[in-house]
Symmetry: C2
Subunit: 361 residues, 2 copies
């Protein structure tokens, strides 16, 4: 079917091994034949067969990226970054979707190593630590975004404590004293860490922590809606909400729209992790950027390092943190410390929005 080394060898009247050496550029062939063979190979349209090569060398030039889904914008950019970086180095990316499901993750991991992938970047579910640990003996692995506590794998994490701190501080600096927090499940690292960043910022500013303003929940839009309602229905509702649970954002936005709450006039809104449409939304939504791009790049760097190092590429560092940064757009507003802004409450109690509420909630 396709042109093999043998074909080239025959055409050039030399042995297969000579062709192999010439084309891989080992320097063990004479300049003259080297060039001649390269030319002939090109003329014949020879393309090395990675499968055959892989069988012999045990390498596949395949690197896998295992993420939970592709709906999350962060995973999208990570996939694109990883793909671009790897392609430039002659690797093919195997993108796998694990759905945050341990069983699927486990299956996928197994088939991946079967395929002799040269490296793996994985967002672990956290439930297959043992397996990951075993596999890491055969193949370089870097964890991304989440840590699997059962392993000591090299892990590239977002700096969530820092990000949440930055976001909260921003709101405080704008004069907000009552800041609602909608955050993820507290049995996840990111959930806990973001809460801690929020708390730290509050403490530094000398603002008392008010647990009625803090809501933790699942990574789903519905959670955002529920929590937002609870916050807005408070006797003294917050003047700002920090949605540090990415997936919950849609729910929050829906509730504010339903209740006709103007952002940022009635309520300041700060979200976590970008979505492509945030900057097109009016008002453009301010966010804490978790640095998806940087995360992906660093993960690739570390993976490549390990792959080069052939086994023991651990430089002692187990964990890398990628700085978060604040992207100010138009959804947060300074409130006057002296004459506090009308609270969202006042608006939501108007006849119109309460009608909307009873109708749609």
């Amino acid at each position: 079917m396709s042109v093999t080394l043998k074909d080239v060898a025959q055409a050039a009247r030399v042995s297969v091994s000579t062709v192999s050496r010439a084309l891989t550029g080992t320097g063990l062939t004479s300049e003259r034949t080297q060039q001649r063979l390269v030319r002939i190979a090109r003329e014949l349209g020879y393309r090395p067969n990675p499968i055959a090569r892989g069988l012999k060398t045990g390498q596949s030039r395949l690197v896998a990226l295992l993420v939970h889904n592709l709906t999350n914008a962060s995973f999208q950019v990570m996939a694109e970054v990883v793909q671009a970086r790897l392609k430039a180095l002659g690797y093919q990316m195997l993108l796998c979707i694990g759905g945050d499901d341990p069983q699927q993750e486990s299956d996928t991991l197994a088939t991946l190593v079967d395929h002799r992938i040269d490296g793996l970047i994985v967002v672990p579910t956290g439930k297959n630590g043992a397996q990951l640990k075993t596999l890491s003996k055969d193949v370089p692995i870097v964890c991304l975004v989440r840590r699997d506590d059962a392993t000591d794998l090299e892990t590239v994490l977002a700096d969530d404590p820092q990000g949440a701190y930055l976001g909260t501080r921003h709101l405080i600096e704008l004069g907000h004293k009552r800041i609602g927090l909608i955050v993820g499940r507290q049995d996840t690292t990111s959930g806990r860490e973001r809460l801690s960043g929020y708390v730290r910022a509050l403490r530094e500013a000398g603002i008392a922590r008010d647990d009625t303003l803090i809501h933790a929940g699942h990574f789903e839009p519905e959670t955002g809606a529920t929590c937002a309602r609870k916050l807005l229905d408070l006797p003294r509702p917050p003047s700002a909400i920090f949605v540090a649970n990415h997936e919950a954002t849609l729910g929050v936005l829906r509730v504010t729209a339903e209740r006709n709450i103007a952002i940022p006039d009635d309520l300041s809104l700060l979200c976590y992790e970008d979505m492509p449409w945030f900057e097109w939304h009016r008002p453009a939504i301010s966010i804490v950027d978790n640095g998806a791009r940087d995360l992906a790049n660093l993960a690739v760097d570390r993976l490549l390092h390990r792959m080069d190092a052939k086994g023991n590429g651990n430089d002692g560092v187990r964990e890398y943190r990628v700085g978060a940064r604040l992207i100010k757009r138009d959804s947060c507003r300074r409130i006057d410390a002296l004459a506090p802004a009308k609270s969202a409450k006042s608006k939501s109690s108007s006849s119109k929005s309460s009608a909307a509420k009873s109708a749609k909630v």
Copy 2:
């Protein structure tokens, strides 16, 4: 490193070939040894090496999906569908991102066939027809969403004429007579087809085509903004806008928000292809669904068919169309035929929105 057939054979004191036959279930081994070998293989944790197998059989159990990007929601669901279907059949999906760039597409295609993929689903750029045609001799290929006119490859397409027709008719049925259309570049199939569907619906309803209401442009948010402005600035602006250019949607939404145009009260808005947040948006945005899920499923069906058929799986059909359907949400409103609704124009000429306009446009 890992357990091979040889290891199993030694443990069982039989030959490698027997083990191979027993495990692949060719029925050429006695019931008894078959079961024994399977048991031993499992005990030893044997896992077949796809690379070695691939070298011999010429198959890799890898199927590639080549799309333009992952930002587009349709591509996301397609990727997820394809991945799920293939995994169930024991294939691994190789997801590649071509960026709608002919050069990248060409490179990727080449490495994919090098890797001896068993099948390929591709959203073609349209510039590598010759290459695709050549490759299709070696590997089953199905085109998705776009046709490459230089080939006669089997192609699964959305029914854009139908979708655009459905959408337009919906707006007409709601009483709209002046319907703005924002559509994609006219050198793409989808761009042309959607325009034709729109025109057909108009004609059927006996509404004269007004070219000032029709804007074709690039697949970018900015295009949407520009076109929306042009439409809204018309002496007699439309009462409804049909955004049949998915990527342009964000731009349109921004402009309506900037100008404080209430949807659907001041303007009805109908979009093409879903985004995950459309139903969370207030008002929830009505769309014409291009059937991404069905498209992906059909593409997989056809590909599998071809892969089974070993070469000549063409059933004469070259082109499949997947029906579009209308999803009514809250962004389109019935307008009274007798007393026409206040047009967007009246609103946009209020002091507030014109201030916004001069400031931000």
